[in-house]
């Protein structure tokens, strides 16, 4: 297919984690001067593959080749081979200058081997110019916009010895114009003979930019080939599958009747992230809110939970206009935050402590009986079919899906009427996913309310009665659940 040798090639790579097989015989070859798109839903195995390709994780099986020669990759050898990763989470030291950030991994030394601000600025300036980024090297990094940070990271990656650049969802929080600009830079990088691996689930971007593609689903490579020989529709069916177990027909089953309003936002704003958003969540329905990363949906979730207060406008939670998070939790608003480890779990504490966190936090009864607590926690976990050996062991040992179920149990235990779920199935395996979907549906059908914040279209399709799509901090549109196809959500997100 290609005359040249692949810069980086993965052959039949496998990787398992204690609870899940993340990669099954996945192959991928990145050629110099070509953009290779890596596609797949959240949880399909893309992140694991990047980690293997950059030496951060060692594969359980398979081969990695650099320019045709098999190697064992470590972060160090990957770096010296010129493999650069632009992670989804920005790797930027916010308090330091742009120049220091560009040269973060290798500060240029000047005369006498000393690192000087002037020398750094000069060297960084050259690197920034190479990717067409017009940034002041002396400016502190926190003054940059998200798009500028993206360019900064690209400038850092495109050093003299870079051979392969892996970009993980680089456009996730960029506007259309910024995306165009980024594409221009990526094409320049490609034309200079660097191999680019481009991860995205925005198919139109892929069609526009990429030469080759590989689609992952549930850890397996389901398709690969030349982008010029495939259609968007084909890619969609590769990504989501024709016969997936998580289908709306199997999960939804109707039965929801919208009732009273439980949470209402009236022209609520939060800084620049949320701009005059009005919405109402009702009993008896699953309201889904979606949008690209940085569209403001995360802030809306926090506003609805009472964790933050709007800078203007009003938020009414179960009839009360001035609720703290604690008051909202007491009134019956459960919240499952997006970042399970940082915001959801007491990782080193027992499953009991985690399952009873809300109960202990909001109950008025002063005493705590360890034995009856263990019993109540075990009971709550059993009701959600959490797989565990002992509720008194640390929650760290559970799989992602089971950890998530424990957080749900935490709120069902205190009888929460409203569940606000932010990415409830991130990093969760398929069987647990379908169980969580059923729980969500059951909650709504029984006359309680669910607000689901998700970027996984299939998930939204499965469980939503109503979908709100956000863009740039505003609500871009509303779609009835049964009409919420991947394409319609896509289009609305991009404002097409």
């Amino acid at each position: 297919m290609h005359a040249t040798l692949a810069t980086l090639e993965l052959r039949k790579v496998q990787k398992s984690f204690p609870s899940v097989r993340a990669l099954k015989d996945v192959s991928l070859a990145a050629y110099p001067g070509r953009v290779h798109a890596l596609l797949g839903e959240n949880g399909a195995g893309k992140s694991t593959l990047i980690k293997v390709a950059s030496g951060a994780l060692q594969p359980d099986g398979g081969e990695i080749l650099l320019n045709g020669a098999p190697v064992r990759l470590t972060p160090r050898t990957a770096k010296s081979a010129g493999i650069r990763v632009l992670h989804q989470e920005r790797q930027i030291a916010l308090t330091r200058s742009v120049a220091e950030n560009v040269l973060l991994d290798r500060p240029t030394r000047g005369r006498f081997g000393l690192v000087t601000a002037g020398g750094l600025a000069r060297a960084a300036g050259e690197r920034l110019a190479r990717v067409g980024a017009d940034l002041d090297p002396h400016a502190p990094a926190w003054t940059l916009t998200v798009a500028q940070m993206q360019l900064l990271e690209l400038a850092r990656a495109v050093s003299d010895d870079a051979t392969c650049i892996i970009m993980d969802e680089p456009t996730a929080s960029l506007h259309r114009a910024e995306i165009e600009r980024l594409f221009t830079v990526v094409r320049q990088v490609r034309d200079s003979g660097i191999a680019v691996v481009y991860i995205s689930h925005h198919l139109d971007e892929v069609m526009e930019l990429a030469d080759d593609y590989t689609v992952l689903r549930d850890g397996s490579e389901v398709a690969s080939g030349l982008v010029s020989e495939v259609t968007t529709a084909r890619l969609v069916s590769h990504m989501f599958g024709d016969e997936v177990s998580l289908r709306r027909e199997d999960v939804h089953e109707g039965g929801t009747r919208p009732g009273d309003v439980v949470i209402e936002l009236d022209r609520a704003s939060f800084g620049g992230a949320v701009r005059s958003v009005s919405l109402a969540a009702r009993r008896g329905e699953v309201l889904a809110v979606t949008g690209a990363v940085g569209c403001g949906s995360r802030e809306v979730a926090h506003l609805m939970s009472g964790a933050i207060k709007p800078t203007s406008g009003t938020v009414r939670i179960l009839g009360s206009g001035r609720g703290s998070r604690r008051a909202a939790a007491r009134a019956g608003v459960g919240f499952l935050p997006a970042d399970r480890k940082r915001e959801g779990l007491l990782l080193d504490r027992s499953i009991v402590d985690n399952a009873l966190l809300a109960e202990n936090g909001i109950t008025r009864r002063p005493l705590f009986h360890p034995l009856s607590a263990t019993r109540r926690a075990a009971d709550a976990c059993r009701r959600l079919a959490v797989k565990l050996s002992d509720v008194r062991s640390p929650i760290r040992g559970l799989s992602g899906g089971n950890q998530q179920k424990v957080i749900l149990a935490r709120w069902l235990r205190v009888g929460s009427e409203v569940l606000i779920l932010d990415e409830p199935t991130a990093g969760v395996d398929i069987p647990s996913k379908s169980e969580i979907y059923r729980l969500i549906r059951q909650h709504a059908v029984e006359g309680r309310a669910v607000v689901l914040f998700s970027t996984e279209y299939q998930e939204i399709r499965c469980v939503a009665d109503r979908v709100l799509v956000m863009r740039d901090g505003r609500i871009a549109g509303e779609i009835e659940g049964e009409n919420a196809t991947e394409h319609r959500i896509f289009e609305m997100e991009l404002g097409a």
Partner: protein
């Protein structure tokens, strides 16, 4: 397929479920401390049998009571992911204030209450600053340590204030062979243990230390909990100040120098972590006892004073390294087993 796997796999024996994970976790921390306690006692007693006599045990407990009471309060802070370094100076300040009041013929009970109130007041200030302005407690209370030390020295004009009368009950009282300071310690310990381990408040302190954000999002009153544990710790420091004053019959502006580090050392020995979310009242108490027994044993073994700090420091380094290594291995196992 099934049979070949069975043949190669080691036969599985059902593990006894007697030891719950929580108890097992505690044993990891407590056992080494108990071993140190017994070991030291045996060594000291073998060179001088009087080490394990009633009167020496009594003396050790009285000598440990100040540290013990401070440890009760500071345990809440460490478990809650907080820290108060100002307690050393707070004890000095409390001691000076108590002595000044007693010199002015104020009844004992009033002097005690004032000292406790001063400590509680300082605690409230720390708690509010930490939770509302998000000041890191380490730096904040380090500042407090210096400020209180200076106030204590200024009030006392840098010399101890001798007590003419007052606080005699701290010297004389005895019940079931336990002297008054020991009894007060025991009382604080039991009350603190119940509060930490058998109330919702205690669970919230653990939650706060384990993951403040998760606790907040789950409806835990994180600000209130923080202020309360700083308050509790300050009040107990005020109480400890009274005991130290009564024991030496003087208000010493240097009474608490270094106590803040000793108390943190004791609690960390007892299994707490400066990162929060770990620790227990029993562990902290064992830590205090180990330090007390070491101090007494060194005296009994006629080890020169200059070695004291070396031994304390050495025990801390070894004990913490051993627990950390065990913890690291255990965690890896948990991850693999899942």
């Amino acid at each position: 397929m099934q049979t070949t796997e069975m043949a190669t796999a080691r036969p599985r024996v059902a593990a006894p479920r007697l030891l719950t994970p929580a108890i097992r976790e505690h044993l990891y921390v407590y056992l080494p401390l108990v071993v140190i306690l017994i070991g030291l006692s045996v060594i000291a007693a073998s060179s001088n049998a009087a080490f394990l006599s009633g009167s020496n045990i009594e003396r050790m407990l009285v000598a440990s009571s100040v540290l013990g009471i401070l440890a009760v309060g500071q345990t809440f802070l460490l478990v809650g992911g907080q820290l108060d370094l100002s307690v050393g100076s707070l004890v000095s300040l409390g001691s000076v204030i108590t002595a000044k009041l007693l010199v002015g013929n104020v009844p004992d009970i009033v002097a005690v209450l004032v000292s406790v109130a001063v400590g509680a007041g300082a605690g409230i200030v720390w708690g509010l600053l930490v939770s509302l302005l998000r000041v890191p407690p380490f730096i904040l209370t380090l500042g407090g340590l210096a400020v209180f030390a200076s106030i204590a020295l200024t009030l006392a004009k840098s010399t101890p204030i001798a007590l003419p009368t007052g606080l005699e009950w701290l010297q004389s009282g005895s019940l079931l062979g336990l002297r008054t300071p020991t009894l007060i310690w025991l009382l604080c310990l039991v009350a603190g243990g119940v509060l930490l381990h058998f109330t919702r408040f205690g669970r919230n302190v653990y939650a706060l230390g384990a993951n403040e954000e998760a606790a907040f999002l789950s409806g835990v009153a994180t600000t209130r909990t923080k202020v309360l544990i700083f308050l509790l710790n300050g009040a107990l420091a005020g109480l400890a100040a009274v005991i130290i004053t009564g024991r030496v019959s003087a208000g010493d502006p240097r009474a608490g120098v270094g106590l803040e580090l000793m108390v943190i050392a004791a609690i960390v020995l007892g299994g707490a972590s400066l990162a929060g979310g770990r620790g227990s009242m029993i562990g902290s108490t064992l830590g205090v006892l180990v330090l007390g027994v070491v101090a007494s044993a060194l005296t009994f073994l006629n080890v020169p004073d200059s070695y004291d700090q070396f031994v304390f420091g050495g025990i801390l380094i070894v004990a913490v390294s051993v627990t950390a290594a065990a913890e690291f291995r255990r965690r890896r196992k948990v991850r693999l087993r899942a």
